[in-house]
Each structure stands twice: as C-alpha cells, then as structure tokens.
Symmetry: none
DNA sequence: GGAGCTGCATAGGTCCAGCCTATGTAAACG
DNA sequence: CGTTTACATAGGCTGGACCTATGCAGCTCC
C-alpha cells in the first residue's frame, strides 16, 4: 500500500469519476487506473463498481474510505507538526514598533524571546503607526506595536490593546517657570521641540493642542527621539514624550500633565486574514505575558 | 512521504539503533539510513540525534512518533477491515422477497447461510415483485426473489429462474361442492378472498381469470397472507396461494388446479451492471444450491 | 444504424527512486 | 594503535510508477 494510492482512491471516491480524479491529482488517467487496480489487487477486493458513467464505492471501498481519509489527514498533520517545531528553531520574526517602544519596552522582551528561541532572527522595523499598519497589510511585517486609535482603521487588522503610556513634558534641567503639573494650554506659550512628520507623538501632541484651542509653536522641528531629547537638553524647548522614555534621561526635567493627564494606548497588531508564522505567534505570546506580568506590579 | 519511510522511522525509534532497525525491517543498513535521511530532508528537520551508540529522537522526531505510529496502525486496520469483508466475516446482505417466500422457502435457507456466515447481517425486505425490482434498481437491495415474468421488464436486471410453484385454491374445511381438481373457470361462481394491491398473487389470479374470460368477484379484498388465510378459514371464500403456503395450514382444504395447473416462476434477480457484494454473491450461491438440491427430491 | 463521443482499461516504453554491495569515517576500547 | 562498532557515502541495478497511444464498451445524435 502506498500513500499515493490512498490519495488517488480518495480522489476517485470524491469525484466518482476516474478521468476527473486523475486531473485533480495531476496524473494521467491510465496511471490512476493502474494504481487503483494495484491497490485493489493488494487488498484482494474491488473498491469501485465501474458501471459506465456511474462509479460507486463497493462495500470494501466504503470500509476503506474513512480510514484512508484519516491516514491522509494524519500525514498532513505530521508534516505540519514538525514544521512548527522547525519554524521555532530557525526562522525570523519581523516586528514593527514605534521608536519610543523600541528603546523602552522591547529590549527586555526581545532578550527573553531570544533566550528562548536563539535560532530566530529578529527583524525590527522602527516607524510611525501609519507606516507600520501599511507594512502589516502588505505582509512585510508579521507583528507591530502601534498606537491606538488607528487613523486609517483597517478592519483586516487584529489589534490587542497592551498598555497605557503616560505622556510627560520634558525640559532642560534649568528651565524657569516649570509648574509641578502642566496643563495642555500651558504649552501655548512654550515653544516645542517637535519630532519629524510621521511620529505618532507629533500627531498626538498637535491634536491635543488643537483640542485645547490653539496651534502649537515649534522651536525646532524634525529629527528622531534622540535628537529631540538632545534639543530639549540644550534648552531649545519642551517636548512631549512617553514617561518611560523620560525616565531614561534623568538629566532632563520631567513634568507630568495635570489630571486627566495625557496618555496613549499601545496595541499589538497583526493581520487578521492570515495566521502569523509560528515564531511570530510565539513572540506575541511572550509580549502579552511580559506585559501582563509587569503591569500588575 | 512514504509509508515505508514511516515504518523505518518507527523501527529506528523503537530500537534506537540503525543497524538493528534495518534488520528488523529486512533491508540493508545503508538503505535505511538513506530513507531516514530522505524523510528528514522532506520534513526539513532532523528526526534523530546520532550520538555514537546513543540514537535518540529529536523534538521533531518525538512530534512525529505518535502520528507515524497511528498512520501505520491505520494501514493495518484498513487492510484488515477489507479482508474481513472479503472473507465474509462481516457485512450485510439486503434481500427482497415476496411474502409467501419469506414464510415458505427462506427460513431454511437463511438458517443455513447464517450458520456458515454468522457475521453477516441479513436484512429482509418483504414486498411485491414490482416494488422489489424498483429497489434493486436504486441499489437499496442486493438480491431479490421475484415472480416472473416481470411486468416492467428492466434490461438492467439479471433474473435467474429458480423454481416453479404450484398454486392451489384453499378453502374452509367444510366448504361444499369442492371438486378434486379445480379449473380456472370454476372460480367464476365462487367469490374470492383477495390480497391487497401489490401482491403478485393478486395480479396472477385476476389475469388468469381474465384469460379464462371473466372478471373475478371478491368476497373480501385487502390484507396480507395471514389475514387472507384467516378469512378463508372463516368461510368467506376461496383464495389462490402457493401450494407451499397451503401445506402449512392443514386446517384449510387445499384443492389443486386441473392440468395444466396454475404455476408461477420464482426467480432470483440482481443488478446486471454492478457486481453484488461478496456476501450477496454467496447468498445467491447458497440459494441456488438449496433449490437445486431440493428440487430433485 | 453508424458516426462520433465519452470514459475506463490495456499495452508498451521510459526513467527515477529505493534497494543493494562496497567503502569511508568516526568513536570506543583493550 | 590496531580492532571493533556503527552510521554515512558512493555507485550500480532493477522494479515500479508514470507516460503516450490505443482498445473497447456504452451512449448520443443525426
């Protein structure tokens, strides 16, 4: 008995037609006839009654059918099971994240993940949420940490909220007139050091100002997180950044916002339509575990 | 993937030894190494860790092991299931027969058959020839004992004449004016107890009367064999039944028909286009044997 | 009714895969 | 350090799985 023969048998049983079954399994019809005949010879029983135009299973065929189907299904699960293991031994995960998360949250998590799966290459794409969402959609990312809510709400994305980040204002150590807590409208009189276009923090800050009734003024504009913090340290102005980032720069003064404060929600997103690769699912698990463990503390 | 490869894999997994595994499956050791390697290549993962003298399953191998074992076990049950059908240890026969045969001929034959093949379920369908022929054609019966000639002659049926039944007239014990032998035209003056529509005996009797030039009159009409015989016993009239049936009711008076007599031919029919299942072929053989043996006596 | 069509079976040829033997190689052991 | 053990590799052989071409039975359609 051969697995191929069982596949052929199933094809004939389903199509009730030798010629069409042969097409389905991509062999010539005589080859299929031969193989079915060989199987019948080995089992010592006819499997089909070959009435013209009406191929039907004999009782022997009916007895074989469920077992053959299970065998073939098992071969597929077998390869799949092994594949999943293989994919965790070597492979890659392409993860997108906002710059602030790349420096804040990710290092610890990626260290854990890499310790568990040293064969998996980690490919990090740093960018704003909008870019990341687009790359998720095109399939050039497996997972992405993005900021909610999504501007371009894509129903094909599954986004799980992960954590709420407090935003704070950072300023140079000797900046005068800094209150204990800042209100958004206090930013009206203070020039800001603003990130380049595309940063989620830029969108968030400007829209918060507009909601408070004014257009923010920029002392400097453009640059990544590091540059912005550098400009702030040089006294060019204030910047609004996640508290997690501010904590890593003790030389800068960090001022919280007055209640209700300014927060943003980070979510973990992936395409809904395609199951992510095993390595990516595993990273997702590690991420969710990490956040659940550390948010309770 | 090949079934052989899985067998080899299991052998190595169990013996933890390539050379001994090769002996067990009766191939040379290099062939086994090759096949295992081929399987590993196809799955994209090593299945064994080849430490000298200590062959062990990798995690991929462990994942494959139970599924491979199940697949191989399934192939064995598959052949076994079919074998059992072939060897008539298991299965069913669906046999159609006219009511008179069910009480007359069948019990003995079915007893013989069941003694020989106790694993075969016997499913008996009682009905008139016309119904039985239709069920043969649709495949809901394997074999049927029917009355010849067929009204709706179906060329797709193969009907082998089995035996000629003599028909006799049965009457209540005290019925007056009963001759030694009856002619069909004698029925003109005598009301009949008639079977329900669909009974072959009804068709046969009425058409015999019509052939003799008159329309029969019915004292009662409808009912199965038992009821008809009961009505006859109560003196409601005569009925025409197979002699075999009449013999089982010694309380009734049985009168033969004058030569050439009234007979009907019972035939064993099955579909011509599809070979009947093995169990049905065997029942056919038993039936023919029985009739041949007992008709000579 | 025969010409064409459909659809499975058969015939004959090709080629690859699975098996073989012979040999290589690496570890273990006295 | 030779010997043994045991798996891997090399290269040749053969059967079987596949192919194309053809046969043949039943059906349709003019």
């Amino acid at each position: 008995m051969q697995l191929q023969q069982l596949v052929y048998f199933l094809a004939v049983a389903e199509t009730r037609h030798f010629t069409r079954a042969a097409e389905r399994v991509h062999i010539a019809q005589p080859s299929l006839s031969q193989q079915i005949k060989a199987l019948e010879r080995e089992l010592g029983a006819e499997l089909f009654s070959r009435a013209r135009g009406n191929i039907a299973l004999t009782d022997a065929g009916q007895a074989l059918l469920p077992i053959a189907a299970r065998i073939i299904a098992d071969t597929e699960t077998a390869t799949q099971e092994v594949q999943e293991l293989v994919q965790l031994r070597r492979g890659r995960v392409r993860l997108g994240a906002t710059p602030s998360l790349c420096t804040g949250l990710l290092p610890d998590i990626l260290r854990d993940y890499h310790r568990q799966y040293p064969g998996i290459r980690l490919i990090i794409e740093e960018g704003g949420s909008r870019d990341l969402v687009r790359e998720l959609a095109t399939g050039s990312l497996d997972l992405a940490l993005i900021v909610l809510p999504l501007q371009s709400h894509d129903p094909a994305l599954d986004a799980t909220p992960l954590l709420h980040e407090d935003l704070v204002a950072v300023s140079a150590a000797g900046t005068p007139d800094m209150p204990e807590a800042l209100r958004v409208q206090d930013l009206r009189d203070r020039p800001l050091v603003m990130f380049r276009r595309g940063y989620d923090l830029r969108e968030l800050t400007t829209s918060a100002c507009r909601a408070a009734g004014f257009e923010p003024t920029f002392a400097v504009e453009g640059g990544e997180m590091d540059a912005v913090l550098g400009f702030v340290g040089a006294g060019l102005g204030l910047a609004v950044v996640p508290s997690m980032v501010a904590e890593r720069r003790p030389t800068l003064r960090s001022t919280p916002f007055a209640p209700p404060g300014l927060t943003r929600t980070i979510a973990l997103a992936h395409r809904k339509d395609a199951e992510p690769p095993r390595a990516a699912r595993e990273l997702r698990r590690v991420l969710l575990d990490y956040v659940r463990t550390h948010s309770t503390t």
